[in-house]
């Protein structure tokens, strides 16, 4: 009997984990770096438009490698051209006459690299895009890969209600902004002697951070009876980050695309959303509409003109969602007093209140929210 129990126990242990996903270190040759990448998405609203030109980097060390010194212009089909000029490395800015950004307008891109090579795009036609109809969220629990490993948070959705004359090809971008707080105001510090800041400095207590959600969301409605879609899933915000603690805002950008630009983004989405599974598809080479005029080297990226609509949504702290995040503050008790602190570390922050301090050392993140990458200037769209 004892033997049987042991056997069953062994059995269960052996079966505990059947499949598994683990990190993998591929051996990839570096021969394909330094291809030119052009990200040129002209929209129908912005007065100043931006075009990014860069080079590819090694997969082991992904970085934005700007390509400076290009001559960039957008050309309309009547021959009118609009020049773009480099403001920061690799970022070229320009203005296009709104008359050339009406639905049906045909634009193309010409770039001459610093080496004098000429890159041209196919012409892209400005589609007609609908307004964003609705963006909303729901409290959601996602199950993790291991049983019991659940994540709570909110899932964003959007609806699409377009008319028959609108484009049937769409993609969305999401820019998120959230308020976060440092744990303490700046009050006590030590640089060989203890100082108190009076009154306490609250300027670095509250910050706002803005980030681009790094996923491609694309949809076409050509196989649907109507040019419409309900509950298109956007991103998920987990309770394990500080995003939902003091106010969270998303800007959803809806792009109506031409069919060829959609094909480009759809392939980008498929390639960047690979996952484990028995029936996974092979990644495919993404072909944009850019070519070298005089050779058959590859150019990555795409030139597109699209109708953009933006919508902003605020989320106050979500009732019923328990947050569990780290503020990035660590406190250390100085057991041996100030001797533990080396002069090169000065100044260091101490825990304290209006009256006195204690022998507890605070990390920079405890008193300075800028350390976490945000800004301490309230964005103009922030409600409170």
């Amino acid at each position: 009997m004892q033997q049987n129990k042991k056997l069953i126990l062994f059995w269960l242990t052996a079966l505990l984990l059947v499949s598994c996903i683990k990190p993998f270190d591929p051996d990839i040759s570096l021969s394909d770096t330094d291809k030119v990448v052009i990200n040129a998405q002209i929209n129908d609203i912005d007065t100043v438009q931006k075009i990014e030109i860069s080079l590819t980097s090694a997969i082991s060390k992904p970085e934005f490698k700007p390509l400076s010194g290009c001559t960039v212009r957008v050309v309309a089909d009547d021959g009118t051209s609009f020049g773009f000029y480099e403001a920061t490395a690799g970022d070229y800015f320009g203005t296009i006459d709104p008359a050339y950004l009406q639905p049906g307008a045909l634009l193309r891109l010409e770039v001459i690299t610093p080496q004098g090579e000429r890159i041209e795009s196919a012409a892209d036609r400005m589609p007609q895009g609908p307004e964003i109809s609705e963006v909303y969220w729901e409290l959601t629990t996602l199950e993790g890969n291991r049983p019991g490993n659940e994540r709570n948070g909110i899932q964003f959705y959007t609806d699409l209600h377009a008319e028959a004359w609108h484009s049937r090809f769409f993609r969305w971008e999401i820019v998120e902004t959230w308020e976060y707080h440092a744990d303490y105001p700046f009050q006590w510090y030590y640089d060989g002697a203890v100082h108190q800041v009076i009154p306490a400095d609250y300027s670095r207590l509250i910050c706002w951070k803005t980030a681009f959600v790094p996923y491609v969301y694309s949809l076409n409605t050509i196989n649907l009876t109507n040019n419409a879609f309900e509950r298109f899933p956007l991103h998920f915000v987990s309770n394990l980050t500080a995003r939902l603690a003091y106010g969270y805002s998303v800007e959803v950008r809806q792009y109506a695309l031409s069919e060829t630009s959609f094909a480009y983004w759809e392939q980008m989405r498929l390639n960047n959303e690979q996952d484990a599974g028995l029936f996974e598809k092979q990644p495919v080479p993404v072909q944009g509409n850019l070519r070298f005029a005089d050779n058959d080297k590859e150019v990555l990226g795409n030139f597109s003109v699209s109708a953009i609509r933006r919508k902003r949504l605020f989320v106050d702290p979500v009732p019923g969602l328990e947050l569990d995040f780290s503020t990035g503050c660590s406190a250390t008790v100085l057991e041996k007093g100030f001797r533990e602190i080396r002069p090169y570390e000065y100044p260091v922050y101490l825990l304290g209140d209006d009256v006195t301090y204690s022998m507890v050392l605070l990390s920079d993140g405890c008193v300075d929210c800028l350390v976490h990458g945000g800004i301490n200037v309230k964005p103009s769209f922030w409600p409170r």
Partner: protein, 923 residues
């Protein structure tokens, strides 16, 4: 990894060498008053020689030996000194018999055959005479064949023999009839029939087969005729038989690129989840690859997974797995044997490019009721068989069902964890022999249901019936008429997004009638000829919106019809006992039929719905295209000497049916599709050369084969192809060429204490899609490795028969990782990292290595018992290596992380209980 293989090889060699130790070696021998049992154990431990005491005559002896070191033979002789027990050396073992020697003067096995084959027809060879006296002291039964009368003018009579099992009445496949005086022989086919030409007169004939008694007859040939022999199973198999029977299989009759699995031979191999999977086991043979756990397709000699034809009693099976490849769709308990043709494919088969898997089930016991079954952690199965009319008609019924889907709960994927799966299969057959006519009916049905969380609901059904009538028209002509119907269907509901939810029902029907003849026409010529017709009916189904919220547009994928008519003729010619030439021609005509609306596209542009010019309408049963498909099948087999042969084959095949699938393994929603107005049938030419050699002193058989194949009109799918959004498949399919070549090495050892096989395959499979229109190219028209291009593969299968009732088995598999497309560089768009990918399949996932182990414990060997049961304990993936099934790259918080996904990354232990009525040897 690289060091593990040579080490294993070394282990194998070491064990073989240990086995080969001769009884003449000296060993420590001093002992006093030991029991005979411990004496024989000590002999076995030291020398590897076993002492058999069938009459238990030495059981009570006490052994005392004064000498320090003796040869094993001397020791055994000493141990029985003073009794009437006589010691007969047998291989390196000993047999004790009271008062007589086993076969006192039996010459060493190798010599025996050479003496027999060089003997003249007078048959007066002392060795042979002694052999017969020793072996068969009883009267040799005489069989008279043919009517009395003048001998035939040709001087030779055509004789057909049929060998059946004495107990069950079933045909015995692979049994040999050997004529020692003439040095010639014949092997029975799957019907139990063997043909041979003999001069009138009396000939000594020996019939034998693995696991059956060996029987000698005196065959008195008068004229053309036939005879029947019943062979009884031996309660305890004598190991001797096999070597010869199998040698015949390998050397004389085996076509190049033919592999045969007899279920008996694999019953001890490790099982995954307690199921014996003939397809997985076939993957340990050279040239056959499975892309990984949970991959339902197999790839033969670099071909696609839809290039294999599977038949169970002539019923084609279009989906051969349960639960996406984790389980086989056939109940192993009803399979008698399993032949795989991958080189020379007999002219009677056609329709697939790479291989034919022919499964023959048992016919059902014609003598008495038999029940067998098994219980594993996932499934239970039961087989009942017995006579309807004793010795005339039998019935066989099998049922198998899964009763638990616990396995899914262990998979590291939340959507699979909340899923449910169920499968079952049923088979039934009736066989009747009425004089010269044999009628058999067989039906098969398998069902699978899979619910993937609340996202997907999926089920599929394979079903079919075959009715086969077989008649000996004359003594030299056998005719077989078969009527076959088969259908594969699936239904899929996709509910992932309410707005795009849909339902799809697909069905593929196959109706076939064929007439086959086997004709022993002239001296040394056997003709196979026949004709057949297949009607394919595909209802590709309608993509219907599912649920009120679905906005999906209804798409009718349409129906398809096609007729494949064929005839074939093949001549199996044996100009002399050393040379066999098989030359065959198969002529097929495939005609896709209307009703069909075919779109025509603008010249010079890709086939895209944007460039449609016109529509051609074909009325019902109007022929869309004529595809005439001649196949030449040629095979030459030359025995260089009694231990070796050289084989050559040239093989042509055509395929009219494809699987629309663009995932690496076969996806559950993959649809079969006929060649049509645009999509042309694929064709392959294959050349193969093989060398075969028996290394008798080691008990080994080896073979080395080389092949080269070139496929034209190989269907490949456009990047991101979607098969449910348009009925016009030509817009998503491109046709290119495929090249495959390789080398296959096979080493096999049979019926020893340690037996099994070792296979090594070097194989390449490359595809080129280089269209006249560069927009249709894949990989810029350059050659690229296919998804199943696995250059190196090594499999080791070993059984160690510790005792008759205890066997350890292991399977060790290594294969090079399959090709994948990797990202080679990164770039940023709006601050988000993106990936740029390599040429198609330019990289490989890490190599695959797995070790399985099993222990088979048989119940007792008593001859008279009601139920025999056995327990098989298997560990799948003993080392727990997490063999990557796929590799993927994820963009996580601005960083690119790479991951590998292993379907099964731990050892899996299962226990299976198998039972049957009767004793150990009951069938």
């Amino acid at each position: 990894m690289r060091y593990r293989l040579p080490f294993l090889l070394f282990l194998v060699l070491l064990t073989i060498m240990a086995q080969a130790q001769q009884p003449s070696g000296r060993i420590a021998s001093k002992m006093t008053g030991q029991s005979f049992a411990s004496f024989s154990e000590s002999v076995y431990r030291q020398s590897g020689s076993m002492i058999f005491d069938p009459m238990a005559t030495a059981e009570k002896l006490k052994v005392t030996i004064a000498d320090d070191s003796l040869t094993v033979l001397q020791m055994v002789l000493k141990s029985v000194e003073g009794t009437n027990i006589m010691v007969s050396p047998w291989h390196q073992h000993f047999v004790l018999l009271p008062g007589k020697m086993l076969i006192q003067s039996l010459p060493p096995y190798q010599k025996l055959t050479s003496v027999l084959s060089t003997a003249d027809s007078s048959g007066k060879v002392p060795a042979k005479a002694r052999y017969l006296e020793g072996r068969a002291p009883e009267v040799v039964q005489t069989i008279r064949v043919g009517a009395e009368g003048p001998a035939k003018s040709s001087g030779r009579a055509r004789i057909q023999g049929r060998i059946t099992d004495k107990d069950s009445g079933e045909a015995v496949f692979g049994a040999t009839l050997f004529f020692p005086d003439l040095g010639i022989g014949a092997v029975t086919d799957e019907k139990g029939l063997a043909s041979i030409q003999l001069r009138p007169g009396k000939h000594l004939m020996r019939a034998e087969y693995l696991g059956y008694e060996r029987k000698n007859f005196l065959l008195e040939v008068r004229n053309d005729g036939s005879f029947n022999i019943n062979l009884a199973r031996t309660a305890i198999q004598m190991e001797e038989f096999v070597v010869f029977g199998d040698k015949q299989m390998n050397m004389k009759s085996k076509d190049p690129g033919l592999d045969k699995i007899v279920m008996k031979s694999i019953k001890e191999l490790p099982m995954m989840m307690g199921e014996r999977d003939v397809l997985k086991i076939s993957g340990t043979l050279p040239g056959i690859v499975s892309t990984g756990e949970g991959a339902s397709g197999i790839n033969v000699r670099g071909g696609g997974s839809d290039q294999n034809a599977f038949y169970i009693n002539r019923i084609p099976v279009y989906n051969t797995s349960h639960l996406f490849g984790f389980f086989p769709a056939f109940n192993a308990e009803i399979i008698r044997d399993f032949a795989i043709y991958k080189g020379h494919v007999p002219a009677e088969y056609g329709g697939r490019l790479s291989s034919v898997f022919n499964i023959t089930t048992r016919e059902g016991n014609k003598k008495h009721l038999m029940v067998r079954g098994g219980l594993s952690p996932i499934t239970g199965n039961l087989v009942v068989e017995g006579p309807v009319v004793k010795d005339v008609a039998s019935v066989l019924l099998s049922a198998r069902s899964s009763y638990s889907d616990w396995m899914l709960q262990r998979i590291e994927d939340p959507s699979i964890r909340s899923s449910a799966a169920h499968f079952n299969d049923f088979a039934g057959g009736v066989n009747a022999t009425l004089g010269k006519t044999k009628i058999s009916a067989f039906g098969y049905r398998s069902f699978d249901r899979f619910r993937l969380a609340d996202v997907n609901d999926y089920h599929y059904i394979n079903q079919g019936v075959s009715l086969i009538g077989e008649r000996m028209v004359t003594d030299n002509l056998r005719a077989e008429l078969s009527l076959i119907g088969s259908s594969y269907s699936f239904e899929l509901t996709d509910k992932q997004y309410a707005a795009t939810a849909y339902q799809h029902r697909y069905q593929n029907n196959h109706y076939e009638a064929r007439l086959d003849f086997k004709h022993l026409a002239f001296e040394n010529h056997t003709f196979d000829y026949g004709l057949g017709m297949i009607v394919y009916q595909l209802r590709r189904g309608i993509i219907e919106p599912y649920g009120m919220a679905s906005l999906r547009q209804e798409v009718d994928l349409g129906n398809e019809k096609g007729v494949e008519s064929s005839f074939y003729f093949a001549d199996n010619w044996e100009p002399n006992p050393r040379l066999t030439v098989t030359a065959g021609l198969r002529m097929s005509l495939f005609t896709p039929l209307g009703p069909k609306d075919v779109l025509t596209y603008a010249d010079g542009l890709p086939r895209d719905l944007r460039y449609v010019v016109d529509t051609l309408s074909f009325a019902n049963n109007k022929i869309l295209r004529w595809y005439l498909e001649p196949d030449i099948r040629l095979s030459v087999n030359y025995s260089t000497d009694e231990n070796g042969a050289v084989k050559l084959a040239f093989n042509q095949m055509h395929q009219n049916l494809f699987l629309l699938n663009n995932t690496v393994s076969v996806s559950p929603s993959a649809q079969w599709k006929l060649a049509d107005y645009y999509l042309r049938p694929s064709a392959v030419n294959q050349v193969s050369v093989g060398v075969f050699r028996n290394l008798r002193q080691w008990g080994l058989e080896t073979s080395l084969e080389l092949y080269y194949k070139k496929t034209t009109h190989f269907p490949e799918f456009r990047d991101g192809a979607d098969f449910i959004s348009t009925p016009h498949v030509e817009t998503t399919v491109l046709q290119g060429e495929q090249q495959a070549y390789g080398l296959e090495f096979f080493l096999k050892r049979n019926n020893r204490k340690l037996d099994g096989w070792l296979s090594y395959t070097y194989s390449r499979s490359l595809i080129r899609v280089d269209d006249v229109n560069p927009l249709n190219d894949i990989n810029n028209g350059k050659l690229y490795p296919s998804n199943h291009d696995i250059p190196h593969m090594v499999n080791l299968v070993m059984n160690y028969h510790l005792r008759r009732r205890v066997t350890f088995s292991t399977i060790v598999t290594y294969q090079r990782g399959r090709p994948v497309t990797f990202p080679v560089s990164a770039y940023f768009v709006n601050g988000v990292p993106m990936l740029d990918y390599s040429d198609r399949n330019a990289y490989r996932i890490p190599d695959y290595f797995r070790t399985d182990l099993s222990l088979t414990l048989e119940g007792n060997l008593k001859k008279d018992k009601l139920i025999h049961s056995s327990l098989v304990i298997s560990v799948y993936n003993l080392t727990g290596r997490d063999n990557p099934y796929s590799v993927f790259f994820k963009n996580e918080d601005g960083k690119i992380n790479s991951y590998q996904y292993a379907v099964i990354g731990v050892p899996i232990l299962t226990a299976t209980w198998i039972f049957k009525l009767g004793n150990y040897a009951a069938e």
